[in-house]
């Protein structure tokens, strides 16, 4: 460590002495000087904000894209050259709101989102509760692995898995046939889409509920039971209210993911149960009408945002972050 105490002196002596320092030290000194030039010590209190910059840039790019889409939505398609007209108009929004097709598709998407959210939460809650409260580590691990396994299998593959299981010559119909019954039409309809979506959303539901349930002290439940409350009353009056942040967070995520889903209706719907994302795809790609596709996109974004704002303002942001409940 020689040299550290001799740093003060004439520049010549200092240079001579510093040249005696190990190379590694000198590199680090140089790096420190460069870092001080780029990010001076006076800015240190803002270092945390600096780390936010990449994420903010990503969001900014997303917003720019949205602004462009908003702009496209205000131009009508000119069928003579398949370009958007220069003039601004609300024709695309008029088409979207007055067309029976888009009204049906929009309502179908909203209804499916609500249905999937309710069913998924109903199934995810006991799973998450058991996963958190199980006494045996093996049970917890088993439940955790079972939950994460589907994450390694993409949505498309899972949808095709359902086709194999529920198809006319699929596993389930083979079993039905074995008992002498006629095959059932189990795919290419609305229930099949809902089933596929529930299976897809279940891990999201469980993972967002688990932290909220973990935060509920076991002692509170024991206290309730020791005061004579049946497990059912304990669940309704203790567990459920305390798990509200998790319920809010998972509901928002499941609802918005379902509302914007494309693959499940496309693969399991048989072409007649489109969601709004499928109509957006058709607008952009099948009809080559980017104006209409953009208008439908804006409606979808507005709808999803409105839902989230309403839920957050009623119930807080839950496990997603900054609600009073989380404080």
């Amino acid at each position: 460590m020689s040299g550290f105490n001799d740093r003060v002196g004439t520049p010549l002596a200092s240079a001579k002495q510093s040249s005696q320092f190990p190379v590694r030290w000198r590199i680090l000194d140089a790096a420190e000087r460069i870092a001080a030039l780029i990010w001076p010590r006076s800015l240190y209190p803002y270092t945390g904000y600096l780390l936010l910059v990449p994420a903010l840039l990503l969001v900014f790019v997303l917003v720019i894209g949205l602004v462009y889409i908003g702009g496209y939505s205000l131009h009508e398609l000119d069928l003579s050259n398949y370009r958007l007209k220069e003039s601004f108009s609300l024709t695309n929004y008029y088409t979207a709101f007055t067309s029976a097709t888009y009204r049906t598709v929009l309502l179908r998407s909203i209804y499916a989102s609500l249905l999937v959210t309710v069913i998924t939460i109903f199934l995810a809650f006991p799973y998450a509760y058991l996963m958190v409260r199980a006494r045996r580590a093996m049970t917890r691990k088993f439940l955790l692995i079972s939950l994460f396994l589907p994450f390694f299998i993409g949505q498309i593959v899972r949808a095709y898995g359902w086709l194999i299981i529920l198809g006319k010559e699929g596993l389930l119909n083979n079993i039905i046939g074995f008992f002498g019954f006629s095959p059932l039409k189990l795919i290419y309809n609305y229930p099949a889409v809902i089933l596929g979506l529930v299976q897809y959303m279940l891990p999201f539901g469980v993972l967002l509920l688990a932290p909220a349930i973990t935060a509920i002290s076991r002692d509170v439940e024991l206290a309730s039971e020791s005061l004579g409350a049946h497990w059912c009353r304990t669940f309704i009056h203790i567990v459920l209210p305390l798990a509200k942040p998790g319920l809010v967070g998972s509901s928002v995520v499941i609802f918005t993911l379902t509302l914007t889903d494309f693959a499940m209706p496309e693969i399991l719907g048989g072409g007649t149960t489109d969601f709004i994302a499928n109509s957006i795809y058709d607008g952009f790609f099948q009809l080559s009408n980017s104006g209409l596709g953009a208008a439908l996109s804006m409606i979808l974004v507005t709808l999803g945002t409105a839902f989230v704002v309403v839920i957050f303002s009623i119930a807080g942001t839950g496990t997603l972050g900054f609600s009073k409940g989380a404080e």
Binding site: L79, N81, Y82, G270, G271, T272, D282, Q286, S288, S290
Partner: protein
């Protein structure tokens, strides 16, 4: 002009012959010289449909082109509707487009031509002598070149029709086949037929499509499946459908792979259409040249014979015999009486009306 200058312009007979010979030689050698002059890219990318379609293009055109030029051909199986906006955006933004050649439906290619993103192919040497079908209708020059015709047939599972092929498209309404009939998810291939089977006539298209819409409303009750080319093969294979309006190529490919499928042209007729090839604007000059040469190669007799025979479709090169299994099949039209059973809607009408038809089709089946 002085005498010296005038003398300089006077050509002797010998000079004239020598100059003519050089010019003639130049003209004859020009294509060869151009081949030599244009730097060859390592590969060219051709957008194609997958399955039997892509295999036919590879074996019939791409392999031969690579052998002749040494340029590798990569097939890009991006969905035709998805590549379209990518090319449009690239051309509009002055970027190099993602592909060199687009194998496209004539309707989609016409839309791209109207948008002004296609390279003119009028100077291709192999255009001469092709059937009139090769020339795009209603467009100046050759912003695309049609390469063959195809028919949207009535494909059916023979097991479901023990008494022979269906005679009318009305079979789609038979409750016996509820949930077991299929159409393309945008109505393509069936829209004009729906008008005729719905009680209208060819003259009603495009001004009065109501008979067709009425037919669709009835068909909706029979819960049809709506899909793409690949879906039809899967659905037939998995026993999900008994009946579909699909391109004969898909039915033939399914049959060749052992699936119990046959096809017919019902009494109301079938829609006949064309596919084509085009080159997007914005490629480097040498790549554009070789992309055009790829199309030129696809129009040679050998390439047309091999490619179209594998597809089972009538090429635009005249005088090519149909594959043995399609001789006398109306879905491989060769004679005027074959074409009388088929319905061809001009591309211009399709381009102008398809969005409206699609909107109505969606309204009925999604509603």
């Amino acid at each position: 002009m002085n005498d010296k200058q005038r003398n300089n312009l006077n050509l002797t007979r010998r000079d004239f012959l020598a100059t003519s010979a050089i010019l003639a030689g130049g003209v004859m050698l020009a294509p060869g010289l151009a081949w030599a002059a244009q730097k060859k890219p390592k590969e060219i990318i051709v957008r194609a449909w997958g399955g039997s379609w892509g295999e036919a293009l590879k074996a019939g055109v791409a392999d031969g082109f690579s052998k002749a030029t040494g340029i590798k051909v990569r097939l890009d199986f991006t969905e035709d509707n998805e590549i379209k906006p990518k090319i449009w955006a690239a051309v509009d933004q002055g970027r190099v487009p993602p592909i060199h050649v687009n194998w496209d439906t004539t309707t989609n290619a016409t839309i791209s031509a109207l948008r002004g993103v296609t390279v003119d192919l009028s100077d291709l040497s192999n255009l001469k002598g092709l059937l009139p079908l090769a020339k795009p209708v209603g467009l100046e020059g050759y912003p695309l070149v049609n390469t063959y015709a195809y028919v949207y047939v009535c494909a059916y599972r023979t097991e479901a029709f023990p008494e022979g092929p269906p005679k009318s498209w009305n079979v789609l309404l038979d409750p016996k086949f509820k949930g077991r009939v299929a159409l393309y998810d945008d109505g393509i291939g069936f829209n004009p037929i729906s008008v005729i089977v719905g009680g209208g006539s060819f003259a009603d298209i495009p001004d009065n499509m109501e008979p067709g819409y009425e037919f669709y409303r009835k068909l909706k009750a029979n819960k049809p499946l709506l899909g793409e080319d690949a879906d039809f093969t899967t659905w037939f294979q998995k026993g999900e459908i008994d009946l579909a309006c699909t391109i004969s190529v898909n039915a033939r490919a399914a049959k060749q792979s052992g699936i119990d499928v046959a096809w017919t042209v019902p009494k109301e007729g079938c829609k006949v259409d064309t596919d084509g090839l085009w080159v997007p604007k914005g490629l480097p000059a040498n790549e554009e040249y070789w992309a055009k040469e790829f199309i030129n190669f696809a129009l040679t007799r050998d390439a047309q014979q091999k490619w179209c025979s594998m597809l089972g479709l009538p090429p635009v090169f005249p005088g090519i015999d149909p594959p043995a299994d399609l001789v006398g099949d109306v879905s491989y039209p060769t004679k005027p009486e074959d074409f009388e059973k088929l319905i061809r809607v001009p591309s211009k009408i399709l381009v102008e009306n398809q969005p409206k038809w699609f909107a109505k089709f969606n309204e009925i089946f999604q509603g």
